[in-house]
Amino acid sequence: MAKLTYDKAFAELNKILDELQSDNVSIDKLAAKSKKANELLAFCKNKLRQIEEEVEQVSDEEE
């Protein structure tokens, strides 16, 4: 599997939301979708925090 990026994860989250909103999700897959969505969400949040920290670190070094 290709390395997950924020953008990919985010796009997938949007896709899941679309699917859920359009009632295209079979109930059997709901738990899996929900789990996937939570994973993606956690990944994105993590990634965001990580990037934020890096940015702060770099600007601290500069100052």
């Binding site: 939301l17 109930i27 969505a37 939570n38 994105c44 940015v55 600007s59 500069e62």
Partner: protein, 410 residues
Amino acid sequence: MESYRLFEVNEYIRRVMALNFEEAVWIECEINQIGQKRGHHYLELVEKSEETDEIIAKARASMWYKDSVFIKKKLGKLFQSILQAGTQVKLKCEVDFHEVYGLNYTIKDIDVNFTVGQMELQRQKIIERLKSEDLLYKNQLKELAGVIQNIAVVSSETAAGFADFFQELKTNAYGYAFQVALFDSSVQGSRMEAEIVQSFKEINAEWRNYQAVIVIRGGGSKLDLSGFDNYHIAAQIAKCKLPVITGIGHEIDQTVSDLTAHTSLKTPTAVASYLIDHNMHFEGTCIDIHQRINELIFEELSYHQAELNMYMEKLKGTINQRFIYESTFLENIGTQISSETYQIIRRQKELLNKNNELVKAYSIDTILKRGFNYSFDEEGKIIKSKSEASKKKTFTLQYHDGKLNVTNNG
């Protein structure tokens, strides 16, 4: 023909002379030779043709000790300057004829102004000649190097002025280094012209080694310096391949050599100060430029620093906004996804509940309770019609609260 004894003739001449030269006369002439013996001066006086420079008159003259004391007192320092071979003089002489020693002029007085005037006249002639040859300002057109450190000095090693000059340069307060090459030349007397001209020839041959030529000598009276009122020396200075700076005396008046020089200063010490100041000016300019460059660099850096700071702030703001936006979006999408999920689950539950009701409504129990019943035979097989039932001897009726065995009587 009558003949006379020598003495008689000489005595006669003496008497004629004495009668005709009762008083002393002023004589304009040039000193051709001069010597001194036991305090007395012995001179050879000449007059030269203005056109050909040939001697057209010559006479012996003497200045007795007692007269020389009087004249020396009157002339002061000028006495030595005037009593030199080559000087144009106006002498007050008693014309004597002695039977043994012949004709002799006894010098009683010297007119200083005549000599000075003659020199001035000579000087003017030289200036006119230099002017007509375009030499008067020729050296002034030379450009002084920004820094003068290698100097060719035309002077006498023994001259007091040279020592002053060298000392002043060596001990300069700024620690500038100077390389001084001395071209030893007489700065007075009969060898002066030839030696100075020779020195200039040598300097011109290696002029690239120097930035300037300095001509110096210690001070002296106006007449002492007359050696520099010399056409050949002045012309050498004018034609020199390097700028020439003179410092040849304390006098107010300038010599012709001063006139043709690039810069003329009063004393050797003044020349040294001038060189030091000249170099200091250059250093000052360098320091100014350096400072200006630093200022410009600082300005430029400050400007860019400010610009960068601005960009950094903007960047920070934008990034923060982006983070807030992303976080909010994530939160929203998370909420949405979970709410959607729950909704789906809820809807599914509702659907299931509805089905349950239906199932319940159609369940056997419910139907039985409503008063319906069904029958089955001994084998438990459902009896679906009367004709079927009439064929059975017994069957069972199922009610909601129990079973009832029925016997078919026909």
